[in-house]
Subunit: 112 residues, 3 copies
Amino acid sequence: MTTDTSASAWLTVLTTTDAAEKAEHLARGAVRARHAACAQINGPVTSVYRWKGEIETAQEWQVLFKTSEGRYPELESWLLSVHDYDTPEIIATPVVRGSAGYLGWLEEETAG
Amino acid sequence: MTTDTSASAWLTVLTTTDAAEKAEHLARGAVRARHAACAQINGPVTSVYRWKGEIETAQEWQVLFKTSEGRYPELESWLLSVHDYDTPEIIATPVVRGSAGYLGWLEEETAG
Amino acid sequence: MTTDTSASAWLTVLTTTDAAEKAEHLARGAVRARHAACAQINGPVTSVYRWKGEIETAQEWQVLFKTSEGRYPELESWLLSVHDYDTPEIIATPVVRGSAGYLGWLEEETAG
């Protein structure tokens, strides 16, 4: 286990999909490949967006990944390759503080 | 569609309200007016806070908007004008990375 | 009420636990002690992670605290002291914009 627990090196990454099983498939695949240390699936949520000039709603599931900045490009590429939406939501938010133990675990899980 | 996909220009904005229908009203109104590109409604969640010296809990719904820094001031103003709380939660978190396709869609939806 | 509403001074802090009652205990305790102004409990969510080489899933509840940068160290210490996981998730994300009224309320609730 490394001791680099620099908080600015970490991200949460959010995507959404339209079925719980698809969300679990994305979460498991990303963690298995070490594109992310872990993920939390939340849903159903109600998504609200514009489509052909009308405001539409849809049921979706959010997947929130925890990963490193270094792993982000491969997580994004992998999500784009397996997600069945044309333009899936993939956005990342910085982690600026965290407990040393948990950040160490993130480091360990995303290493190698 | 513009090609400006500068990630630092994007925010997620969180508010909460006390009914699912109110959450949907806020989400639809903001997207219709292009104050935000889209929103996700999550709930019920359990809010915990201090009120007159006691710790209270309440059922609420979270609305998470995706918008640009440029649109943030009008999203905040609009939320303050339509929200029925005296002091609603309105807080914004930066988006520092994202897929080019999705950020392009955010740009398109919040333009003009 | 102070008028310091500098947005960069605020954080959302996320932890997770394995029962709704534990989540409420963490939320109430942190708010009671003014380690945080408020918290929202969301769940159950499905957590996905690697354990002894296998990808596992577990039902968890997320607790999202709103606090100041100044209060963060004591919130983290307190969570580590009361949480029953060996290495609980504790990660913080910056709040870069917010309504003046709400940020003022955060200031008031985390003061003194």
